[in-house]
Symmetry: C2
Subunit: 110 residues, 2 copies
DNA sequence: GACATTATTACGATAACCGACTACGATTGG
DNA sequence: CCAATCGTAGTCGGTTATCGTAATAATGTC
């Protein structure tokens, strides 16, 4: 089991913490570094090279919008907010998570 | 929202139906075509070119094992069974799904 | 000036998608 | 009874996009 963790993380859990991100963005602005820590807390080891392109994609998709101090230079810290569209996506995902949860906990011991 | 579905599917829901597969394999042997239908029923459009390599990877990882009629030729139908290791992986995933579910439904309106 | 924080980038490896294709079996029709 | 057709199941090829690692750059702080 232990050696499978990395494979599971990449193969399956990738989408899970993306939901986390949207969820957190709904509660307040999200910053890349903070999100990396938060995910580590949950056992998801995510690298910057994965996180930042992801946040950019989500912004490109219109799920997040970012604010940045224009004086801060090209690597200034960016705060991401959930957009209206992002809220709809999150709601949709909530339903999917619930559906999955219901399905796999139905342990009727066949 | 509508146009986002495809993106969501690829970006986030990919892992979800992989859990579905393991779950179904725990209940009984799983066949590619049947699984494709089952996922369509849940709204996940997956192409054969995605499904079959995935099943092969899962077998390679030791989560599934396949049985096939040796007389059936190179494209004979394969039945996939969940291995002991697959059970452990599934159990691990159950916990992760629960954790995610708990987290995102905790709507304490901050 | 040294150090911490934060984000960006490059690049190799792998996965995902689409669609066309192959192989076998069952059914139908002359 | 043979042959053509259709349905089912899985494979393959080529392109695109994502992930991971690690190095890098810019700004703020002591």
């Amino acid at each position: 089991m232990e050696p499978d963790i990395k494979i599971i993380l990449r193969e399956i859990l990738l989408g899970f913490w993306k939901v986390h991100i949207l969820h957190h963005a709904a509660e307040g602005p999200v910053v890349g570094q903070w999100m990396l820590q938060e995910l580590r807390r949950h056992g998801y080891e995510v690298s910057p090279g994965t996180m930042y392109p992801l946040l950019q994609r989500m912004e490109r998709n219109g799920w997040l919008r970012s604010e940045v101090n224009p004086e801060g230079g090209p690597r200034a810290r960016k705060s991401y907010y959930l957009t209206q569209r992002g809220h709809e996506v999150l709601e949709f995902l909530r339903e999917r998570v619930e559906e999955l949860w219901m399905e796999i906990t139905n342990e009727a011991e066949h």
